[in-house]
Symmetry: C2
Subunit: 293 residues, 2 copies
């Protein structure tokens, strides 16, 4: 995990425009928003899915690095925009002032916009598969996962849910979009950059990703209840303060924890047919559910 995190950091460092290139302040703010923080869950999933898809063949780590960077650009852009005053109005992220606090609102808006473009640029300007038609498909996967029927749509549903009482299926629907879509894309893109997986394997990997994506959010809600702002590096108790439904508010703490454990088992079950090549994906499911931050 530390190796993939370091690789991701180094590749982001290389592909984010230097703060000495005009427009300097925008590039400085883009680097601020992306570098030196985050668990890099999405690149970790992409690398592990690449290994699972490659099986006994060698993966090309350079291809997976690019995929990981593109995913982090989308993820970081979503955080920068979500933190804006018109959205969650948050001042702390990854233990640092949020982008609009450190710079200004207009710059933070353009940082998010530019990071989204950069994600697609990265997927389009490097060779990621032997077959360019599959690379076009990868670009489509990232676009759909990011857009109004994926991550951005989930954010819209999240905003609309403030002050609402949601059922468990409604809460799930929101998170399948808000966090789940990009986590599924991480696995789907990693698998394609790692090799040429069979449709059957892709389907199992996708089921794994759906479970892990949802588990990730359930655990986030549990940690938000049980941890401190210092441990998480972001404001805790914000959802409750904003009157937003969470798995803890809807299910209670004990049932939320049980759900996370159930999803972890379901994710591991989906990997059983993939053999030892899926070992790292299994470890990541454990990491995501058992983490403390």
């Amino acid at each position: 995990m530390a190796r993939v995190q370091a690789r991701t950091e180094a590749t982001l460092e290389r592909f984010l425009p230097s703060a000495t290139i005009a427009p300097q302040r925008l590039h400085e703010a883009m680097r601020y928003a992306v570098l030196g923080g985050g668990k890099r869950i999405r690149p970790l999933l992409a690398f592990a899915a690449g290994e699972a898809a490659a099986g006994v063949r060698q993966i090309d780590p350079g291809r997976l690095e690019i995929v990981g960077c593109a995913l982090e650009c989308i993820h970081a852009y979503s955080l920068v925009h979500d933190d804006l005053p018109s959205m969650d109005n948050d001042v702390l992220r990854r233990g640092k002032p949020t982008c609009h606090v450190e710079f200004d609102e207009a710059t933070a808006l353009l940082v998010g916009d530019s990071l989204q473009s950069l994600a697609f640029q990265l997927l389009a300007e490097h060779r990621l598969c032997d077959d360019p038609a599959v690379q076009v498909e990868m670009l489509k996967i990232l676009a759909v996962a990011s857009g109004s029927r994926g991550m951005a749509g989930g954010q819209a549903i999240d905003l609309a849910s403030v002050g609402q009482t949601l059922t468990v299926p409604e809460l799930e629907y929101m998170h399948i979009h808000k966090t789940g879509a990009l986590i599924r894309a991480s696995v789907a893109l990693g698998a394609r950059a790692g090799g040429a997986p069979s449709p059957g394997h892709l389907e199992r990997l996708d089921h794994y990703a759906k479970c892990v994506g949802l588990a990730f959010q359930v655990v986030d809600d549990v940690l938000d209840q049980e941890s401190s702002t210092a441990t998480l590096g972001k404001t805790v108790g914000k959802d409750a303060a904003n009157n937003k439904p969470t798995y803890v508010s809807v299910l209670g703490l004990a049932r939320a924890k049980a759900l996370a454990e159930e999803l972890r088992k379901d994710a591991l079950e989906a990997l059983s047919a993939l053999g030892s090549a899926a070992q790292r994906l299994a470890e990541l499911a454990d990491f995501i559910v058992l983490r403390k931050f």
Copy 2:
């Protein structure tokens, strides 16, 4: 022109998610921001460049429609974000209330984000060239044109220029990014979707696009000085009020008009080697410089 505009409108209508699909309010706002307005200059350029590149061969209008829609999604997203209170804080666009006035700020932010994703989705989910490797190149062209070294970067330079005295080269540098990058991409993408132009032709088309892109902005500045808000459908005199440098403020009205005319001639000159297939591009250069709105 009217035929391409109608085609673009119909294709956008088809590919923008319906307002009956969840998240409904986001989809309704996306449609509000894109449909029923605008001159569709970028699709017009893409179609004309496609014809110029095809020469005597038949173009596939379906491919150019998709390219035109992707360009309009990027353009509309940039307008929605530029109009936000933290940016230009504008209330009128295409004769209607701006997106954040009609809906709300958070929705307008997500509208822009989702329209950017949709642009890349459109270019990735339809077959636009016989060679998928060229399609990957098209996705890269759009990403670079939209990002921090293209349109979004131009917007950052624009923000930083408020209250500054710029030289003509500095003003040109700003507009080459802010408006020019997407106009160049329109011609580059249209040419590739229209056929397989030679490198020499691509270079001439790109020179044409650079001239037209700059002329477009010069004429915008002239119209902003000479027209009324009712004619333009957007607030006039805003740049002067915001203390932003324009071609008129830097060159004066007469020299700005002369520059637009010079750029028009330069654009037409670049087309001379392309023969009658470039007729529509020539007409568009005239339209852009001689327009009154």
